[in-house]
Amino acid sequence: MAYQTVTVTQARMPERRPRSRRDRGMLPVLLGPSALLIAAFVVLPAIYGLYLSFTNTQLTGSAARNPKFVGLRNYEYLLTSDDFGASMWNTAQFVFLSAIIGQTVLGMLAAVLLTRKWLKGKGAFGAAVLLPMVVPEVVASLTWASVLSPREDGTLNQLLHVFGQAPVAALQTAPMLCIIAVNIWRGIAFAMIMFQAALEDVPEELIEAARIDGAGAWQVFRYVTLPLIRGPVFLYLLLTTITTVGVFGLVYFLTQGGPGGETRLTAIFIYERAFQYSQIGLGSAASVILLVLLMVLGLTYVRLAKVDV
């Protein structure tokens, strides 16, 4: 056996070396196009955005043709403006209540329930939870436009009627609550998938042992399961925070940031400033602030996830 291995290796060695050196030339051919495309359409815009944020570039008008360097004025304006501050506060509320609280709690509930051995119809329940994530965001918003309709026969109002409540125009009176509900609805599935994977790694003996010691379902979850999946849960929280900060279409389709800017998330603020008020410089500065924030979160994620290359 040993003898054979040696001969095979010897036979291969002289063949391998020159080949790998010759094949070096393939590297730019293979990786070049991907690197170029990513550099041109993702990295370059990020860098150009940084440059634009120091100028007074406009979409139209004289400042569109020859923009001037204005230093940190855009940032000064943003950090002292109520509009931008409000949009950051809206984003923080949106992320905290929909992603960190809502999706996490309901996703965990779905994941835990779907690991129950006695539960029948797991496939159907799982599919139901996944559907909101699978459809395009525009379709997701459209369905909720009808649910939240101010008309008496809107789905929400009919439900309220069953409980003897008066109809509401939810998108007018509690718009932030509405978009939070919609985003929870859309994100339960992602949380569920992440938590199911984590729960699979929890040894069953530990749970059995706790049961035998007389622990109830909640106690088992709180003192055995949860401490064991703390790592994956924390990684999920980082990931969902990052993706939720980038939510645009889901909210813009439904409210366009209104009424009165109550649902103007930072992503919507950027879009409005740059493309509706044509203030490219200002929009870019807001983009850079968002970008830096996300990079910090992203770096933390990569560090903690111990991603292997």
Binding site: S34, I38, L130, V307
Partner: protein
């Protein structure tokens, strides 16, 4: 046999029965919460006089006939298909080449490149869209399907590269080396040996990329100005926000047509989806 089963069943105490009933109730409520919003969409699409809210339908297929025979609506579907199919094809062609290089060559900066594209993955479209638009205007690629296809293919490339690199890593190098000894060139070995084995990974990457491009809203909203270039996402948005009367039957039928491809792909992907590695790739 029958006697043992009955005895075993009797042994479940009442408390446990109540607990289970409660948990069934919880998961049912959760499923209803997820499904009920779709009721109006699915019913109205088949309703002759659909409104903005759920009602008893006057069943018909006219809304779908109207979609396919309309003056503008078939164009929306065609544009969506052109953008998503060509974008996915470009993304995969570049992705498979790049992933092969990342998997098989050890070169300086390889780790940096892998981490860099992982970080790029966290940049959402809203954070770069303003500068991207200006750049596209300067190179005359705004308001063009070709420009949009390039951007969409590039945005989905980091995930494709990561997915396919993992898939190629799993193929033993020895298989390729054996093929070289049999006289194949490196490119022939990639085509004949790696190609067939990477197919499952390629399929998963194809579906994820297609779904991401198909569902994108902000990029076409900013880059396209001519209505005859609009994909379904923008068409639906314009129809929904039109100040004049909204044709709810046509709008919901369009939305149903729009959600069919990703839903079918999801059914195919479902088994893979349950694994978190792909789950992480699919969101956002």
């Amino acid at each position: 046999m029958a006697a043992t089963t009955t005895r075993a069943r009797r042994r479940i105490p009442l408390v446990v029965v109540i607990q289970r009933a409660l948990q069934y109730a919880l998961i049912t409520l959760l499923a209803l919460f997820c499904l009920v919003p779709f009721a109006w969409l699915l019913v109205s699409a088949f309703d002759a006089d659909a409104g903005s809210t759920l009602g008893v339908p006057d069943l018909t297929l006219d809304n779908f006939v109207g979609f396919f025979s309309g003056a503008e609506t078939p164009r929306l579907l065609l544009n969506s298909l052109i953008i998503a199919v060509l974008g996915t094809a470009l993304n995969l062609a570049l992705g498979v080449m790049g992933a092969y290089a990342l998997s098989r060559f050890r070169f300086r900066g390889r780790k940096f490149f892998m981490f860099a594209i992982l970080l790029i993955r966290v940049i959402p479209v809203p954070a770069t869209i303003v500068a991207l638009y200006l750049l596209m205007v300067q190179v005359n690629l705004d308001n063009s399907l070709f420009g949009l296809i390039l951007v969409e293919a590039a945005q989905a490339l980091p995930i494709t590269l990561w997915l396919l690199k993992g898939a190629i890593d799993a193929i033993p190098m020895e298989l390729e080396e054996a093929a070289w000894l049999d006289g194949m060139t490196r490119y022939q070995a990639i085509w004949k040996i790696v190609g067939p084995l990477v197919m499952p990974g390629l399929g998963a990457a194809a579906m994820l990329t297609f779904m991401a491009i198909w569902g994108d809203f902000l990029t076409p909203l900013v880059l396209l100005q001519s209505p005859d270039l609009y994909p379904l996402s923008i068409g639906l948005f314009r129809a929904f926000t039109a100040f004049n009367q909204v044709d709810w039957g046509l709008l919901t039928a369009s939305a149903v047509i729009y959600m069919v491809p990703p839903t079918i792909l999801y059914v195919i992907l479902r088994r893979h989806l349950m694994r978190s590695s792909l789950g992480g790739a699919i969101k956002g």
